[in-house]
Every structure is written in C-alpha cells, then in structure tokens.
C-alpha cells in the first residue's frame, strides 16, 4: 500500500506552491477580476517554461513526461492560487483530447505548442443551458466545416485552437479541432471574471476531425479524465479557503477572545476539514486511476468530482462566513475563492450531472 505521492512529486508540489505564492499573489488574480487582462500572460509564460502545462504530455511531443500524478499535484497548486491562467483548458482538455483522439500527425503538430505555452487551447462543449448530454450537441460539421453556437467556452476568447464537440452528417458525435481566429467570438460576463468565458458563433469554420476516438463515449472519457484534474484544483482551492478562515479565526478577537476559540467557529471549520479530507482522499484515488488508466476511472472520476465540488463550495462559503462582514467586501480575497468554486463546480457539468453519472456507474457495476 502506497497511497501517497512520491517524495519527488511532493517536492514538485512544494516548489510549485512556493513559486505561485511569489508569482501569483491575489493582486495578480485581481487584474483579471477587475477586467485589466483576460489572463496573466506573464504567469502563463513562466509556468509553461517550467514544464507544468506539458507535465503529462509525453516527451516525444515536447512534454515534460512527469505523468498524471505530476499533473495532479500541479493542478492542486493552480487551484490554491486561483491562478488566472488557462491551465485546465490547455493541459486537461485540449492536450488530452489530442492525445485521446488525434492522429500521430495532429499530435506532432499541436502538442509541442500546447506544452510550451505558445498555443492556447480550449474545449467547447456546452450550447447554452443544461448539463452535458449527447442530445445537447447540435453543432454540425459538413464537408469539413463546422456550424453551431457554443457557450460558455472557458478560455475561448484567448485560445488559438478549440476542440469542439459536434456531429457529422451521419449524426455521429466527434471531437473537432478548429482554429479560433475563424470563429466569431464574444466575451461573456460571468460570476468569475478570473476565467475568460466566451460565446462561439461558428459559421462554416474549417474543422479537422480528431478521428482516433469518436462518439459520446470519447467526449465522456475526456470529461472523466479532466474531472479528476479539476477535482485537484477544487481541493487546492478548498484547502486555501480553510487556511484563510483558520488564520482569521485565530487573529480576530471578539468578546475578548479569538473567535477561533468559540465552538460555533470550531465546529464549522471542522465540517470544512472533514469535507476537504474526504475530497482529497477521493481525488488521490482519481490520481491513481488516471495514472494506471484503470477500469475504475469513470467511477473514481465521478466520486472525486462530487466530493471536491462539495468541499470547495462549503470551504469557500464558510470562509466568508468566518470573516463576517469584511468577508463580503471586494477588498478581502474571500470572494476570489467563492467565485472560483462556483465556476469550477459548473465546469463540464454541475453537481447533479456528476451525481447522476456516479449512480449510473454504480448501477452498471452492480449489474456486472
């Protein structure tokens, strides 16, 4: 039994944590929050140069070959810092889609750019309201040209290439690679301005198919794998929220004593701790499944996702509550986490979608 990250990866994690503490302070996150920049291009170049974006991309395609456990520990730190960079869109989605469904030529063409940060990728799935479902995919590809409307597309406004879920003339769902400059893009206002979200209006834009994996199964497989990595981001964000709340509860005095000495605060923060520990343990199992490409991966992913969404939600809202009034101000950083928790909680489908999927998988497993 070795259910922990290796010392080497713990070192990677500690280094990443220290690096982001210095290079990604809340003031940097606030540049995106305040609309000064869609993402931090400076930070993006730095972390790409460190090999983070290509952590799980094989070295043959310009990646660092650190593997999925490496990508998991980095995802946790990205989440902890609320980093305003398209890390998930590039590393968990665009690169993964190409690895999953791309041809050898497509891998050679696109992965090195994704790995070194010079190409920003995104994944366009949703077409307005509603959770992920094959019936919700209406975008269509005819004669190599894609037509349809996708929103919201995370990091869509800053991306160079998009992986778009669409149907062909035979009605089969597939993943298509599109160059974003051909798309009519509009930036959307959202509850979390630290992540760009855009609307894509595609009118007969050139699209090349990623042919090696097709159907809704391919989309779901991509989502499952990404869900584990997003769960690590959520765990990082939840951990940071709990740390903030704890620190404040020890420094803030009321009724002549630190508020952290009151059971009302202790029990609240213990509830957060419990949710976080369960989420972390489920995420670790996901990391194992991702690395081993285990048959258990879909169930592990749904479980990690349900747990992590819950933990970040509780941690970020109770962080504000522990701070009291100041936690509700623009100036305090509590809302950065609160916004991020909702944004991540909705990414690739909200909690009801993943709970449903989890029970689907339990039913399938029990039937087997």
């Amino acid at each position: 039994m070795n259910f922990d990250f290796s010392d080497e990866l713990k070192h990677v994690r500690d280094h990443a944590r220290g690096f982001l503490a210095g290079e990604c302070p809340p003031s940097l996150v606030r540049r995106s929050l305040d609309g000064d920049e869609a993402y931090s291009a400076t930070l993006w170049k730095e972390i790409a140069a460190l090999g983070w974006v290509g952590a799980a991309i094989p070295e043959a395609y310009g990646g660092a070959g650190l593997g999925y456990e490496g990508l998991c520990v980095l995802a946790e730190e990205i989440g902890r810092a609320v980093a305003p960079v398209p890390f998930g869109s590039c590393a968990y989605l665009a690169a993964e889609a190409i690895l999953l469904a791309g041809t050898e030529a497509q891998k050679r063409e696109f992965l090195p750019g994704l790995a070194d940060g010079s190409t920003i990728g995104c994944f366009a799935l949703a077409e307005g309201n509603g959770n992920p479902s094959p019936t919700a995919i209406r975008a269509r590809v005819t004669n190599g040209e894609l037509t349809g409307v996708k929103w919201p597309v995370a990091d869509g406004g800053i991306a160079d290439i998009a992986i778009i879920a669409a149907r062909d003339d035979a009605d089969e769902i597939g993943l298509y690679l599109v160059r974003c400059r051909a798309i009519d893009r509009k930036t959307l206002r959202t509850v979390d301005p630290t992540r760009d979200q855009s609307r894509f209006d595609c009118d007969e834009v050139p699209a090349e198919k990623l042919p090696a994996a097709t159907g809704w199964d391919a989309v779901q497989r991509l989502m499952d794998r990404a869900a584990i990595l997003f769960a690590f981001e959520q765990v990082g964000g939840a951990d940071a929220s709990l740390e903030m709340a704890k620190k404040y509860a020890m420094e803030r005095f009321a009724f002549g004593r630190p508020i952290g000495s009151f059971q009302a605060i202790k029990h609240k923060l213990t509830d957060v701790y419990v949710a976080l520990e369960l989420a972390r343990s489920n995420a670790y199992y996901g990391a194992w499944a991702l690395t081993a490409d285990a048959a258990e991966l879909p169930l592990a992913a749904a479980t990690a996702r349900v747990s992590a969404t819950d933990a970040f939600h509780i941690a970020s809202k109770e962080n504000i509550q522990t701070h009291g009034g100041v936690g509700f101000t623009w100036a305090f950083d509590c809302h950065l986490y609160y916004r991020r928790s909702k944004q991540l909680g909705l990414r690739l489908g909200g909690a009801p979608f993943w709970k449903n999927r989890l029970v689907d998988l339990i039913e399938t497993r029990n039937a087997a």
């Binding site: 259910f3 004593r257 000495s261 419990v274 369960l278 343990s281 990391a287 479980t303 747990s307």
Partner: protein, 410 residues
C-alpha cells in the same frame, strides 16, 4: 501510488484470509448480524471461543510484545487483518474495549508481574475487561467525575457511580478513574486503578436504552476496597493515564455499520416510486451519490493512514474523522431508507419489514453512535484544536478547586 502489499504484508494477508475462510462465515451469505438485543449467554460463549481460536492462529495481539503472546508486528498488519475480517461474519463485541483500551493502558502503567497475570487471559478471551469512565455528572466533561476513592492503609475505598459501561455485567475486571482529591483543580485530583468486577460493594444495573436493548450499564460502588498495588500511575496522575486509554480508543476499529450505502442502493432497486424503481428517482440518486462519495472518501482516508502507518508514523487525532462521519451517515441512511418505504417504513413486523429491518433498527440505535466514545461535538473540538490548531475554549473551571465548581445539573 499503488495498492500493492509488500511481500511480507501479502503473505500475512493470505494467511489471515485462509484462516478466516476456514473458520468463519463469509458476509453476505445470510442476514446481517444486527445487535438487536444485549449480548446473551450463548453469544458470550461464541465470542470467547472465537477469540481463543484467533489467538491460537496468531491473529490476536498482532502488535503486542511477544512476551505477552503478541507478534510484535507494525500496526499495518492489524489493519490488514481487520480488512480481511470485514468480509466475514464473526462473533464480535465482547473484547474490543478490553483489548483495545484496557490492556494497552495496563501495558503502559502496570507492574511486570501484573502483566504476566492479566494480559494472556485477556488475549485468549478467557477474561473480559470493561472501562469505568463516564458518570452521570461527567460525560463529555469526563474530568468532572465525582466517584471518589479515599486511602485506608494499603487500600483505597471507592464510593460513587459510573454509567454507560459497556459489558460491565459480563466483565471480570475493569479500569476506573476516580477522584482522590477534590481540593485541587479537576484534572489534578484524579487517580487510576484496575479492579475485580466481583469485588464486594459493586452493583450493576443494566440501562434500558431507547432502542429497547440493554447494552450499557450503571455501576454503583459502595465501600469497594481496592489494593494500592492496583493503582495505575501516580496518585493525582489519573487524567494522564486516562488520555492513554482514550488515545487507544481512536485506534480501535469499529464495526462497519449497516445499513451502508450498498444497502441503500439495493433497497432503492427493489422499491418503486411513481411506477419505477426508486433508484431512477433523481432525488434518491443524488442522496445515494453523496453518501457513496463520503463512504469512499473515508475508505481512501484509511488507505492514506495505512500508508503513513507502513512508513512507521503514528496515527493521531485526525482519525476522529471516521466515527464523526460514519455515525451521522448511519443515522441519515437509516432514516432515508425508511422514507423511501413510505408509511410502511414504520412497520417492523418480521414478515413485512424490508431488508430484515436493518433500517428501522439503525434508526433507533444510531443516536448512541453519535454520543458513545466521544460525542460528535467533542470529536469536532478535538479536530479543531489538535488538527487545525485553533485555540482552546476558555474554561471557567480550570484553575479552581474541584469542590467549588458546579457540575451535573447544578
């Protein structure tokens, strides 16, 4: 990351599994064991026989020193044995406190000749031990206990009352913490002993619980004499000794309680809501998913603990998470399962009730799971103070002589 045993762990696991396969009944082949009543004669006999069998096969006292009949293996092997035993139905419930708490406390504080006398019979299930801690005026606030012991030559004379003592009526010996000095602050006036449960002056009355069963007892002490040689630790050091006992409580692994989320899934498949199985209902699905995620989270938290154990680390207060999460989950799953049954959920007639009545049984017994062995609230204090590092509560009784502090209902 991997879930592989080391070669040594794998061979131990295989041995444990072979032993259990030969001697015990696999779980899931019959109705689950429900502790519907207090333990009766034949169940006690079965428990004792099983413990002796375990000892003979080398699966008792796994971590204990060899001189006490143990095997001097690391705690990871205890966890491995427990994991294997979870797949079988074995007679349980009589020795957890003695072997998990009383004897480890004795090992820390008793004299070598006392250990020679008491450890082996306990390990072999020949003698049963109980723990006499809680009192009517001292539950969560354990150090507020009032049972007193006064010195009389080489003996101590105990007067007072203990409560919530599991298995007192089945026990041969007990460990007890009592007040020996009421004139100093509460934690400083306590002393710890072990005693013969058949000593004159001990009267045991079972408590009729809200579940209808009688598992716990009240134990009354009237001029009970205990030799000073049975004192564990110094006079006035009883609190420190108690903490040793309670530390061991956290390491004891509880029975995986039923109904669990798998039982709820099975129930949801068989019950019908609006013309289709309840498991097709969105509200039910979300509840199942939430409990499944919590159960898995605990399972993998245990794996993380095992990893730490196998690296030689000592488990700490973070292990309070298991009981804290499990107790409420049990109560909530029990209640929700009954909700799915509709009005019929209240019926417990043997020939009508679903799932052998385990949901109804757990509804009535689960409140004790959230109180016994550290209430939810105390466990949350422990996690908040000792894991998260939040400041201790301000205590109005800390530096006052115990006999000036209001206790109980006053």
């Amino acid at each position: 990351m991997d879930f592989n045993d080391t070669p040594e762990e794998a061979s131990f696991r295989a041995r444990a599994r072979a032993f259990l396969a030969a001697e015990a009944q696999p779980k899931g082949t019959g109705r689950p064991t429900l502790r519907l009543g207090g333990m009766v004669g034949e169940e006690v006999t079965r428990c004792k026989a099983w413990q002796a069998k375990k000892a003979d096969a080398g699966f008792a006292g796994i971590t204990w020193q060899k001189r006490f009949g143990g095997h001097e293996l690391s705690p990871i092997f205890q966890v491995i044995y427990n994991q294997e035993e979870e797949d079988f139905t074995v007679p349980r419930g009589l020795f957890e406190i003695g072997l998990g708490m009383c004897i480890p406390t004795m090992m820390t504080y008793a004299q070598p000749e006392q250990l020679d006398r008491y450890v082996q019979p306990a390990l072999r299930g020949e003698e049963v031990w109980c723990q006499l801690f809680s009192e009517p005026a001292g539950g969560s606030d354990l150090a507020a206990l009032r049972t007193k012991a006064e010195r009389d030559g080489d003996e101590w004379v105990i007067n007072g009352q203990k409560i919530w003592t599991s298995g007192a009526h089945l026990s041969d010996f007990g460990i007890i913490v009592v007040r020996t000095d009421p004139n100093v602050p509460k934690h400083e006036g306590l002393t710890f002993f072990f005693l013969d449960m058949r000593s004159p002056g001990i009267e045991i009355r079972s408590i009729h619980q809200m579940s209808g069963t009688r598992h716990f007892n009240e134990v009354f002490f009237t001029d009970v004499r205990v030799p000073d040689s049975q004192r564990l630790g110094q006079v006035g050091q009883g609190w420190r000794v108690s903490l040793t006992t309670l530390m061991n409580e956290r390491l004891a692994v509880g029975d995986p309680a039923r109904p669990d989320v798998d039982d709820l899934v099975a129930l949801s498949r068989s019950l019908v809501i609006d013309g289709q199985p309840a498991i097709r209902n969105q509200a039910t699905r979300e509840r199942i998913a939430e409990w499944y995620a919590r159960a898995q989270g605990l399972k993998f938290t245990k794996f993380r603990t095992m990893t730490a154990l196998s690296k030689g680390e000592t488990p700490g207060p973070e292990n309070s998470i298991h009981k804290l999460v499990n107790a409420s989950k049990l109560q909530d799953i029990a209640s929700y399962g009954m909700d799915l049954m509709g009005e019929a959920g209240m019926v417990i007639d043997d020939d009508l009730v679903e799932a052998w009545g385990m949901f109804q049984s757990a509804l009535l017994s689960s409140p004790s799971a959230r109180i016994a062995g550290g209430s939810d609230e105390i466990l949350k204090n422990i996690i908040a103070e000792r894991v998260l590092g939040l400041p201790a509560d301000i205590r109005v009784d800390k530096n006052r002589a115990f006999n000036t502090v209001p206790t109980g209902n006053r």
